[in-house]
């Protein structure tokens, strides 16, 4: 069984982002970019499935500008076998990404697709659910633990009240939550090896997918700032402030 994983190139989670002065978006020039952290978890899970003999091949998919090659290389260095890059400089919204992934799924016929639960830039939390819908497949969102069996996957999901166990039919889409695994670091020899692994270059035209955005971003602004507070010396002072100044206890 082939496993397809989504790897998105995003501003690194440690970067303090800046809103552009003209309110059209967020500053991305000269900013450190990395693989979306949830996608590292997706790649790790796919590689583990191959190591267990459940998966035969791990394919890393990315859609976006030319530099997404680096993101795919990171996945290859972790252990993915090959990549597919849908190159596009246009804005790609979750529905468009799901359609591009579906076109790749139609070609590659994987038995399982693993994506992150959410991209930490747009915070959409949509692509996996949308892809499953377009394919008519089952979906296991917010996965905490997977057990892939013959024809089925048992998924432990992180939900509002705790954990939930479901059994879903293969082929399926999984979205990763933080506790699914701890992604490995790529070793130097594997980084070297990754340079030779193939990346299939595609475009939305070559896949015949309409990627026109459905949402128009009218403006992007800074959030309101909180006014700065004070330090108190003692618990008694704190309790007094909470009672008599803030009136919250």
């Amino acid at each position: 069984m082939k496993v397809l994983v989504g790897v998105k190139r995003v501003i690194d989670y440690n970067v303090k982002i800046r809103v552009k002065a003209d309110n059209t978006g967020v500053e991305t020039a000269n900013v450190k970019m990395s693989m979306n952290p949830f996608d590292e978890i997706a790649v790790e899970e796919a590689i583990r499935l191959r190591e267990k003999g459940v998966a035969t091949e791990v394919i890393a998919f990315s859609a976006g500008p030319q530099q997404c090659q680096e993101t795919i290389r990171t996945a290859l260095a972790m252990g993915a076998d090959r990549g597919v890059l849908v190159q596009s400089d246009a804005e790609l919204q979750p529905l468009a990404v799901a359609k591009l992934m579906k076109a790749v799924v139609d070609k590659e016929q994987p038995g399982l697709v693993i994506v992150g639960k959410q991209a930490i830039d747009d915070d959409s939390n949509q692509v996996g659910q949308m892809l499953a819908a377009l394919l008519g497949w089952s979906v296991g969102t917010f996965a905490n633990k997977l057990n892939v069996a013959e024809g089925w996957v048992e998924v432990k999901r992180e939900v509002d009240g705790g954990l939930e166990n479901i059994k879903i039919k293969l082929p399926a889409v999984i979205t990763t939550d933080l506790r699914l695994n701890e992604p490995r670091y790529a070793s130097l020899p594997n980084i070297m090896k990754a340079k030779k692994k193939p990346i299939d270059m595609q475009t939305s035209e070559s896949l015949g997918v309409d990627i026109a955005p459905r949402l128009k971003t009218l403006k992007v602004e800074e959030p309101p700032k909180r006014k700065s507070g004070i330090k108190v010396k003692t618990v008694a002072e704190l309790v007094d402030k909470l009672r008599n100044e803030a009136g919250v206890i």
Binding site: D123, L134, V139, K167, L178, E221, K231, V239
Partner: protein
């Protein structure tokens, strides 16, 4: 055109955030219908009918809906969709699971976690862990929107007998047979639920063990508070996953949020910085949490928390 709010429920009552979703929907238009899909969901349908502002409740009875599997709920919503301008869900683990599936089946975009309704087709939503606010306009005919419950104040509930909305029975669509529910391991707690508690007390890696969280439980009980945590505390196994507050956990906005042994990473702040009053207890005076705290105490939590518990216990 009418608006459809899709309600999460436990069979007896709809989730508290359904009232928030109705409040958000009422800013998008009038004639709000609530869909209660379930198996033996009569009581839940009644609770939906009592929410102020609801014109009609659609109760869909089908064994397939007992556990809210996306594969089975989404086709029902899609079938109803042509009668509606908007489909609105709370951005909780049910809404996040189902809304994108509905949107993709309808070939429309989905607006995630709207915090403000600017006009019926324009919404404000946080991006980059709330470090930027995007105003987006949808061009689709049917608008699928999840809303952040803490940003929409629920109207006064109708209460029993006070003009409840009519409940219409609609049929179910059966099961697609793609998925099945096995069971749940839910955290049991008598404390107020995190996302609706008036006071939330959260602990981080500074607590150093799950055992030490008992100290926060005592404080929470003394204050009638809900209990939350940072990702680090959850990852370390101190507390269950559903305690996580933040960009990728729960979003809370209580009257009072007390962060204890939490450094204040942007991913954590994303889930709590809309709280009315924030208190931080941390031994590191440089900890970023102090930048959003109204009141900070620099010191050892193992000394401060028992003192605070004693102080709030004697009224």
């Amino acid at each position: 055109m009418a608006i459809l709010v899709v309600a999460g429920h436990d069979g007896k009552t709809v989730r508290a955030n359904v009232a928030n979703a109705v409040a958000a929907a009422s800013q998008m238009g009038s004639d709000i219908h609530v869909l209660v899909a379930g198996s033996n969901a009569g009581e839940a349908a009644k609770s939906a009918a009592a929410i102020a502002g609801v014109a009609k409740v659609l109760q869909a009875e089908d064994a397939a809906y007992a556990n809210w599997l996306a594969e089975d709920i989404a086709p029902l919503v899609v079938k109803l969709a042509p009668n509606y301008s908007h489909i609105v869900l709370a951005a909780d683990s049910l809404g996040k699971n189902v809304a994108p599936r509905v949107a993709a089946l309808l070939d429309v975009a989905q607006v995630s976690e709207a915090i403000k309704v600017v006009s019926p087709d324009t919404f404000v939503r946080p991006i980059y862990a709330g470090n930027a606010m995007a105003t987006v306009q949808t061009t689709d005919k049917i608008k699928v929107v999840t809303i952040r419950p803490t940003n929409f104040k629920a109207g006064a509930g109708g209460g029993p007998g006070s003009n409840p909305a009519a409940i219409e029975q609609i049929g179910g669509e059966g099961s697609k047979g793609l998925s099945s529910y096995v069971g749940a391991e839910l955290s049991k707690s008598e404390r107020p639920e995190l996302t609706s508690a008036k006071i939330v007390i959260s602990g981080g890696r500074g607590l150093a063990s799950g055992e030490n969280f008992k100290m926060l439980e005592t404080l929470a009980d003394a204050m009638g508070a809900g209990l939350g945590a940072s990702r680090a505390a959850v990852d370390a196994g101190y507390v269950p996953n559903d305690y996580q507050v933040g960009q990728t956990g729960k979003v809370v906005a209580p009257d009072l949020y007390i962060a204890i042994g939490i450094s204040g990473a942007i991913q954590h702040l994303a889930g709590m910085k809309d709280s009315k009053t924030i208190v931080a207890i941390n031994k590191d005076e440089e900890a970023p949490i102090f930048q959003v705290a109204d009141y900070g105490i620099v010191g050892d939590l193992f000394q401060i928390v028992p003192e605070l518990t004693a102080a709030v216990s004697k009224k």
